[in-house]
């Protein structure tokens, strides 16, 4: 009974308050999202990653950095679910703790790059003129350099380490967000509802933040989610060449790099973290695709 009450409250065509209107919109989007199987698979994977990161000490069976040289390079068994690496560390536990690092990278990069790109792109698009030319010129300079090479150069300059890797990936990923935000802004810039708020005396800042950014966010969420896979892979790539997370941190890319030496005889050392990277990347891709279906403004203004 309470459930059906809740449902009809959320789906009410005539909400009675600001919060009811907002929750109703979120509920409608989640209903549409739930009917998409692949998106739900993606969501489950991402939620599993979050749970793994949050409860790592309870999920892991061993200490991720405790070495046991007597038990090195053991194949997967009941005691070591994914085997052990060259220093006898339990790979399953390292993969579990690695989820924390991966999640931190993804969240920090998204939190740094997406708002910066959004604001720069929307400002350039709305103001136009020389502001547009300067901001987009800078964006184009960053865009013209290959992502991984630029990240490499930055990390090399700043020094290896996970924080610098995050910073480097953020610096390389904002330009594409700025481009998208600018393109979106240009489509709304001359709309009557923007003209109407200009006529009410709204400042450019108010229009960009209050009117244009809310219209760009849904495509931005989609884009960022789809990019998460790439971010994870770039971070893993940096880890692989030794410029990302430093030992003994259990970063997945770095783990693959260590396992490369034994890939023919002790395949599990490199394969297990590889599986983790593939699974999580796929999860974010599915989630992003599903979000695009329900959020993309081009697929109609239904929500």
């Amino acid at each position: 009974m309470a459930f059906t009450d809740m449902r009809s409250w959320l789906l009410d065509e005539s909400p009675a308050s600001r919060s009811q209107a907002r929750w109703g919109r979120i509920f409608r989007i989640s209903l549409a999202f739930r009917s998409n199987t692949l998106a739900m698979v993606g969501l489950v994977i991402v939620l599993a990653l979050i749970a793994m990161a949050a409860f790592a000490p309870w999920i892991a069976t061993h200490d991720p950095i405790a070495q046991d040289t007597y038990a090195r390079l053991r194949p997967p068994s009941a005691a070591n679910w994914m085997g052990t690496d060259e220093l006898g560390r339990d790979i399953w536990s390292r993969v579990v703790f690695g989820a924390r690092i991966t999640l931190a990278i993804v969240i920090l990069v998204a939190a740094l790059a997406a708002p910066a790109g959004l604001l720069i792109g929307a400002t350039a698009g709305y103001l136009g003129g020389w502001v547009d030319r300067v901001l987009m010129g800078i964006t184009d300079i960053f865009l013209s350099m290959p992502k991984l090479i630029l990240a490499l150069a930055l990390v090399a300059a700043l020094g290896p380490g996970i924080e610098n890797a995050i910073l480097a990936i953020a610096v390389t990923s904002w330009p594409s967000y700025a481009r998208i935000a600018r393109a979106e802004t240009l489509t709304f810039k001359n709309a009557d509802f923007i003209a109407a708020s200009r006529l009410q005396g709204a400042s450019s800042w108010r229009i960009v933040v209050g009117h244009i950014l809310p219209l760009c966010t849904s495509s931005m969420i989609v884009r960022v989610t789809l990019d998460m896979a790439g971010i994870i892979l770039t971070a893993a790539g940096l880890g692989f060449i030794g410029l990302g997370a430093q030992p003994p941190l259990p970063e997945w890319g770095a783990m693959i790099a260590r396992g490369r030496t034994f890939i023919l005889d002790q395949w599990w050392v490199a394969t297990m973290p590889g599986f983790a990277i593939i699974t999580v990347s796929l999860g974010f891709c599915f989630l992003g695709d599903g979000l695009r279906d329900v959020l993309d403004p081009k697929s109609g203004e239904k929500h």
Binding site: P15, A191, F193, R198, L199, Q200, G201, A202, E301
Partner: protein
């Protein structure tokens, strides 16, 4: 008192000059129509007054005060605009409530709840529409919201850019009646752009016929009703809009 005084107005978009020496005067409380075919520059005059077409020469005065070329919050209190397409003039992600809240916040007016409730009642929208999104409203309801948004800052002058041409005929009548009542109750001055002459005779007391960016004739609405227009082009326009003889 003259509410809108325009003298010798030339508006350009970049290199292209749209209007040539447009001069009109609208009395306070009056309702003036600019009619003409598409591309005659009638909407451009409205945009120049509003500040959306900043490249112009000549004189625009609102209640005797010269108009600047840009948009300033003070001017917003005097003059507001209703757009042609109610589907494009409301922010798709904002509820009616949020749309009406915006001008109050910009102008720093208090009593948000009371003002919004009052204006919704005034434009004939039930309170249950208050927290709906534009996609949950019909075209006529959207246009009522747009009118409410324009009127919530209590302007004296309303610029109407073909406010009913995007609506069904039956809804058109409702909106026109609403505009007529609001003008009477609030003592508003209307400057309306339209190509529909019956609307002019219903809502306006004077009109100017525009062609190719120039005013070819200015006349009272009674001349229009009696078919006493002087200019040949105006008569042609009138003949085109007359119902076909059966």
């Amino acid at each position: 008192m003259t509410a809108i005084h325009i003298d010798n107005l030339d508006v350009s978009y970049g290199e292209t000059q749209i209007t040539h020496g447009v001069s009109i005067d609208v009395e306070e409380g009056g309702s003036f129509a600019l009619v003409g075919e598409s591309g005659s520059g009638k909407s451009t005059v409205l945009k120049a007054i509003a500040g959306l077409a900043p490249e112009w020469r000549g004189t625009i005065e609102i209640f005797g005060r010269p108009r600047s070329h840009g948009i300033d919050p003070d001017f917003a209190r005097t003059c507001q605009m209703v757009f042609q397409d109610p589907y494009g003039s409301l922010h798709p992600r904002k509820t009616v409530d949020a749309t009406l809240m915006e001008p109050l916040n910009i102008q720093g007016l208090s009593d948000h709840n009371e003002r919004i409730a009052a204006i919704l009642k005034d434009v004939g929208l039930d309170n249950r529409f208050r927290f709906r999104y534009p996609h949950q409203l019909s075209g006529g309801q959207r246009q009522r919201v747009a009118i409410a948004r324009a009127l919530i800052v209590e302007p004296k002058v309303l610029l109407l850019d073909e406010p009913t041409s995007a609506l069904d005929v039956s809804v058109q009548a409702e909106i026109l009646n609403l505009l007529k009542r609001l003008r009477r109750e609030r003592g508003l001055t209307y400057l309306m752009v339209t190509h529909n002459l019956p609307i002019v005779s219903f809502l306006c007391d004077r009109l100017a016929v525009m062609r190719g960016g120039r005013i070819v004739e200015t006349a009272g609405a009674e001349n229009l009703k009696q078919g006493h227009l002087q200019n040949e082009y105006s008569r042609e326009l009138l003949a085109l809009s007359a119902p076909p003889a059966v």
